[in-house]
């Protein structure tokens, strides 16, 4: 069995990829269906070429994962395996994608063949850009997050039509650029120094759902960050918290509550740069979301979810201090309450800023579309406060299975967004004040029950 075959086997051996295949097949089928069922609009053939970018972005991670394993450095032929793998997947995918151009209307046989070849190379360029990003950028998967923006912008400015016209009307140019790009990337990926650079480098890849591995990677990455961070907890701050702890008896819960408060609240203060980034993001988001209308409220669903997913909960800490299960319960409530504060502050700030922007930003028209700024409704403020306890409860239950946490939270977000998608009505606008209060009590009550159950009846570290 050749080295390439062994590596290609990862395509079905990695279970993490199966979900990716399902999603990609749905997108591919949607892209194909548009050709046969939808209106004959220009630009409709571009779907799979855009998808090729995502394929490159996802599948180039596989050889990189192999490179990062220390043993692969000494395996014969593995240093050159990367480019062979990348090109093998890319060529296969784009042959499939380009065949769709055979149904392109009003072209003769010769033109059709040229169009198919041109589409193949256009797809290959798109794919190779995605693959190259994996090797050039540290967190390449984050680019997928920008994809909806790129697609939206592309459609808005008719880039898909332009691209389709270039492929069909200038095949020789596209083929030449494609060949040139292929050659450049082939040489670039053949760099043997790459194997040395990636050898034993912590790389999450498709193991991002493995908490133990992620913890290890995060610790290694953070070590470098901590070295750079020159700011330390001020002695005054430390004295304040330790002083508060010392006011209580050694067996009193008060000591553990203040301890948890100290552990949970100092990190954000240390990372002042991050706070400044958050402030800038909040201002920008408040500005742009106002123009997006109903979609703006999605931010209120996502924000608490992201914060909760990344938070350290004292309940599962394996650093033994003298606190028992009861003390862990009290400490975790404190940490969660502390975390709910910045979430609420950001939500309030976004609503307030959007009201301010409404008064000052103008309405404008671009390509015959009028953009009117709409303030984010104050009623939305309860959404993060409702999502936060729910997200914490789900995380507590499935703390060893982050993929379950993410899937469940996404499901809830889609359920809450359903009225917006179907009836164009905001979830928050559909319920009255009493329901809001009831939901908040229910949400936080459920969280407390789950936390109590976990603290008193579940194993608190490792696999338990």
């Amino acid at each position: 069995m050749s080295i390439l075959t062994v590596n290609l086997k990862h395509l079905y051996q990695r279970r993490g990829l199966w979900l990716v295949y399902v999603i990609m097949v749905i997108f591919a089928l949607a892209g194909i269906a548009v050709l046969f069922k939808g209106p004959e609009e220009p630009g409709r053939f571009i779907g799979l070429i855009v998808l090729a970018f995502v394929v490159g972005l996802l599948f180039a991670v596989l050889p990189l994962e192999v490179l990062s394993k220390p043993f692969s450095y000494c395996l014969p032929g593995h240093r050159k395996m990367v480019r062979r793998f990348v090109f093998c997947v890319g060529i296969f995918f784009n042959i499939f994608g380009s065949l769709l151009f055979f149904v392109y209307p009003s072209l003769n046989a010769g033109q059709l063949i040229l169009a198919v070849c041109s589409a193949f190379f256009a797809g290959l360029i798109s794919y190779l850009i995605g693959a190259a990003l994996v090797f050039a950028a540290r967190n390449s998967v984050a680019f997928i997050g920008f994809l909806p923006v790129i697609i939206f912008a592309g459609q808005f400015f008719d880039l898909h039509t332009v691209l389709e016209r270039v492929i069909v009307e200038n095949p020789l140019v596209v083929i030449s650029v494609g060949v040139l790009t292929g050659c450049v990337v082939w040489v670039w990926l053949g760099d043997e120094g790459r194997a040395r650079r990636y050898c034993n480098v912590p790389w999450a890849g498709f193991d991002a759902w493995n908490p133990a591995k992620m913890k290890k990677i995060s610790r290694i990455r953070m070590a470098g960050k901590w070295d750079k961070l020159k700011k330390y907890t001020s002695p005054r701050m430390e004295r304040f918290f330790l002083g508060r702890m010392n006011r209580y008896n050694y067996v009193s819960a008060g000591r553990y509550i203040w301890g948890a408060l100290y552990a949970a609240s100092v990190v954000p203060v240390l990372q002042l740069k991050s706070i400044l980034s958050i402030v800038i993001i909040v201002i920008l988001m408040s500005f742009f979301l106002g123009y997006m209308g109903l979609a703006a409220t999605f931010m209120f669903f996502f924000m608490p979810m992201i914060i909760v997913m990344n938070m350290r909960l004292p309940v599962h800490s394996s650093m033994l201090i003298s606190g028992g299960r009861r003390e862990r319960f009290a400490g975790t409530i404190t940490a969660v309450a502390i975390e709910a504060v910045p979430i609420s502050v950001v939500a309030v700030a976004m609503v307030a800023l959007s009201m301010l922007f409404k008064a000052i930003v103008p309405e404008f028209t671009l390509r015959e579309v009028t953009f009117t700024y709409r303030a984010i409704g104050a009623r939305n403020l309860f959404v993060p406060l409702l999502i936060t306890p729910f997200a914490f409860a789900v995380r507590l239950i499935f703390y060893r299975k982050p993929i379950y946490v993410m899937s469940l939270l996404m499901l809830v977000i889609y359920l809450m967004a359903f009225p917006e998608i179907v009836w164009h009505k905001q979830f928050s606008a559909m319920i009255n004040l009493i329901s809001i209060i009831a939901l908040l009590v229910l949400g936080w009550g459920t969280f407390l029950l789950v936390l109590h159950h976990v603290c008193m009846r579940r194993s608190l570290a490792g696999n338990g």
Partner: protein, 295 residues
């Protein structure tokens, strides 16, 4: 029978992770004043057993009692008597070592500052560095310091020496011997480095696939397992050697090395006299004992 009251009692403890039985019907009693070596391969259930003792894990069946209290109900009063070094060494990375020591010490009434300073000096711990940027070895030293700074009655060490260099390991073993000098201190140490553990333990518990295969004092073990070296001094060795309970025999060119189980040393010496050969009887190293027990 031991007349003292055990500080840890495990009765018929079972713990499962899905289909895997990490602990299966564990009966164990730990008495004060001992250094207990908990030995076993990866996945034998050592860490699970230790985490059950301190109540981080809850047993599915059976009961685990530590300091007279059910492990799941251990509170500050009991946990304030237990020091624990976790093999993953989770610490608060954003604090400096000094801040972390001050933070952790705030939870313990009997934190010993003099001892803290002594260990900082002995272990060459840099206190001004942020915990997150420490090397694994330095991190482990800090974790050990935090676990012993309050002079716990029960010190639980889960693979404590894995990240330490040979010099630090030797210092660490000396430290364990110093700690045990104080009356009624108990140390449970799980480790793969049997040659290190052998130097300090006085009791061994060997585990395999969630079962305790052996729970015995180290002196008893050394008495039970012997190695007999026989040299025929230029002559032929007899075809039949007069020793009983031989578990392993290696013969070559007038020489033989036997591993003997459950045969008192005096009896072996008696049996050796009947041979007209040079015979040396010695206790078996822990590593060899371990191999015999687990196989």
């Amino acid at each position: 029978m031991n007349s003292e009251k055990p500080i840890v009692q495990m009765r018929k403890v079972c713990k499962r992770f899905g289909n895997i039985k990490a602990l299966d019907d564990i009966d164990l009693q730990i008495y004060p004043g001992r250094i207990i070596g908990l030995l076993g391969a990866n996945g034998a259930g050592k860490s699970t057993l230790l985490r059950n003792i301190i109540g981080l894990y809850l047993e599915d069946e059976g009961a685990c009692v530590t300091f007279g209290c059910e492990a799941k109900k251990l509170g500050p009063k009991e946990l304030g008597r237990i020091g624990y070094v976790h093999q993953e060494g989770e610490l608060l990375d954003w604090m400096t070592v000094q801040q972390l020591i001050r933070y952790v010490s705030a939870y313990y009434q009997n934190w010993n500052r003099e001892l803290e300073e002594k260990y900082i000096e002995d272990f060459e711990i840099s206190t001004k560095v942020r915990v997150g940027s420490l090397s694994p070895g330095q991190r482990q030293r800090v974790a050990i310091l935090l676990a012993i700074g309050f002079e716990p009655e029960l010190l639980i060490l889960d693979e404590p020496a894995a990240a330490l260099d040979p010099l630090a390991r030797a210092q660490f073993l000396d430290l364990l011997l110093q700690i045990i000098q104080t009356e009624n201190r108990t140390i449970i140490i799980s480790s793969h480095i049997l040659s290190d553990v052998e130097k300090v333990i006085d009791h061994a518990v060997i585990m395999k696939e969630g079962h305790i295969l052996l729970d015995s004092s180290f002196d008893e073990l050394r008495e039970r397992f012997s190695r007999v070296r026989i040299s025929a001094l230029g002559k032929e060795l007899p075809a039949e050697l007069p020793f009983e309970n031989v578990v392993h025999c290696k013969r070559s060119d007038g020489q033989a090395i036997l591993t003997v189980q459950d045969c008192p040393r005096e009896k072996l010496q008696e049996q050796a006299k009947s041979l007209d050969c040079w015979v040396e009887i010695e206790a078996l190293p822990l590593e060899e004992i371990y191999k015999i027990v687990v196989s």
